[in-house]
Symmetry: C2
Subunit: 339 residues, 2 copies
DNA sequence: AAATAAATTGACAGCGCTGTCACCCGGTTT
DNA sequence: AAACCGGGTGACAGCGCTGTCAATTTATTT
């Protein structure tokens, strides 16, 4: 059994290792007949290039880094799946690297990661897309990167985003159309700017429909189920309580529903509830949650695509990409009670 | 700015590169004073070893592979977190590799992965822990690996498991103690043997308590919410319907609750529901779900620990490890109605 | 103090691949 | 016929590190 190295492939094919390298890397200027000889030898020895050697010699690793700091398992998995599927199709591997966006040492951590693993590029997901110290490191190091849903310095890198504000606008209009006038809003974690921006859509819809913004209907949440519960307690404790609550994500909406159930309010009879993200909990909960579906996996694929194109030197003519979210009507929203 | 390579560190410290290598790898037989000189040079140049070079020269990559095929985002994330935390602490990286356990080419895929990336070891999670073609490749290739919750050929590798059957037994006893006599059981996906084994605990508890096994109360599920709904429809359609349903995982239990709500049954008044896993949905759902908490992250950490020990040549004196699950009592279970 | 063992260190040859550059060869151009 | 061109190919020098083994220094024994 001959060891499957480039040398042995070259020997078997009767060519130099450089030619094998050319064939493996799909470089031009190899005669068709030579290419076939080499491919035959590769098949015979079942040769696969050694990534470490390639990386050491060629100064690129065919590995990209995926950085995230998101407590939502579903979000992370969707992103991972999107990134992985695109990477695999193009012969790249992915190194995942969860980190803490509030840690003052993150950028240092990223720096170390880059140098040790020699990753070729990086994908940043919210809220890391907005961490300037990380952006600085990446730029100083001249490492290609792509961001998902950035809200700052957008010109700094290619990015992919969704029309969150618009979707939130649509959802709010939907609630208004159902007759709701007092619509509570639970905002997302302030560090997750993209989530925060959903508030803009809410406000725009109210303004559009000549409904006054009532500050007491606006509560700061932190993306967690528990923060949704707290916010709901506050909103439902109001003397003039809202007839609908729109939470900036599904987990918080689930918290609202829990409090409503516990207070004996029926949904959507006494209270309509809407969420955002369409996580699995949205359809597993009772009544099923009206929400907005985000094409997370598609975003991740698109982002990866942009990154890989960049790595291959292809000019990215469209360095920004906007994907559309869609409203999912389920059972947690209904007509407002006529009072 | 001097490039941070081992040569420059050696030159700066006035020693050979081999000595630097020894210091970096914490090898013995380096005089304390020399070690300090080298560490000083390392700090000065801010040196970090290049993983590719190390891997190429040393025939190990300091990367382990994590293989999984699990539709549950929470499970996967917990495993990843456990593996990553242990790996980072010991200077290892993780390559994640989701795959399809039913694909006849999986083992081939694993084989390619091993050869290309030169990973040092592998962690297998259910249901891959039981895929024999993968085990064969790993063994033939002599690649160290550890399995989480395997049910076949346990002697083949170190492994970590939980006392699922016992926990299911406890849960069933709990339901019986609440007065339930007709307890429906929704079994897990047949390919996930570990989940399947939860049925053993259920049966043991019934036998123990002199309750006859009624085949009509036993339904095959497939771990998904939807399969839980279908199973619930079947169970609740029985003329003598169960007063409690124990589902082999939380998603299916959530499906049961959805059907119950839609049928106007109150939980736990008319029907008690119990799940297994303590996924986030368990406490976000109303009423919150009585379930069994699995120490998934701890299992993953333990498994990683076993693997890394093995990689470092330390003898693993305890190649198998059993972690305990715990029963979480919430609001979805209550006394059986006195008929 | 000589002999022996143990600890410490370095020289050097790769690991398997890619980048550089020189070379060869048939076809064009002058 | 000489000069030129460009596709096709190979020789060879590393990339940055570790393993091997020999050399040197230091500690221990007799």
């Amino acid at each position: 059994m001959i060891k499957a190295t480039i040398d042995n492939v070259a020997a078997l094919a009767g060519v130099s290792i450089k030619t094998v390298s050319r064939v493996v890397n799909k470089e031009p200027n190899v005669r068709q007949s030579t290419r076939e000889k080499v491919l035959k030898a590769i098949a015979e020895l079942d040769y696969r290039p050694n990534f470490s050697a390639r990386s050491l010699a060629g100064n690129r690793s065919f590995v990209i880094g995926l950085l995230y700091d998101n407590p939502s398992a579903n979000y992370v998995i969707d992103v991972q799946d999107g990134v992985l599927s695109t990477c695999r199709a193009q012969g790249y591997d992915v190194l995942i690297h969860p980190c803490n966006h509030q840690d003052p040492e993150v950028s240092r951590e990223v720096w170390d990661l880059i140098r040790q693993t020699r990753i070729d590029g990086v994908i940043l997901t919210p809220p890391l897309s907005d961490v300037e110290s990380i952006l600085d490191v990446l730029i100083q190091r001249q490492l290609p990167f792509v961001r998902i849903a950035p809200t700052v310095k957008k010109a700094l890198s290619p990015y992919v985003e969704t029309n969150d504000a618009e979707a939130a606008y649509d959802m709010t209009c939907e609630l208004i159309a159902l007759g709701h006038q007092r619509i509570g809003f639970i905002a997302g974690h302030p560090d997750h700017k993209a989530v925060t921006h959903r508030f803009e859509g809410y406000r725009a819809a109210l303004v559009e429909n000549d409904i006054d913004l009532d500050d007491s209907l606006l509560v700061q949440g932190y993306n967690s189920f528990e923060s949704g519960e707290q916010a709901a307690q506050q909103l439902l404790g109001l003397e003039a309580r809202p007839s609908a609550i729109f939470a900036a994500n599904d987990d918080m909406a689930a918290g609202v529903m829990m409090v409503a159930h516990q207070s004996g309010l029926s949904i959507p009879g006494d209270l309509s509830v809407a969420g955002f993200d369409d996580t699995p909990v949205a359809h597993q909960i009772w009544p099923s949650l009206t929400t907005v579906r985000q094409p997370i996996q598609a975003m991740a694929q698109k982002a990866t695509d942009l990154l890989l194109k960049q790595l291959q030197g292809k000019d990215v003519q469209l360095p920004a990409s906007m994907l559309s979210s869609s409203l999912i009507r389920r059972d947690s929203t209904g007509p407002a009670l006529r009072c």
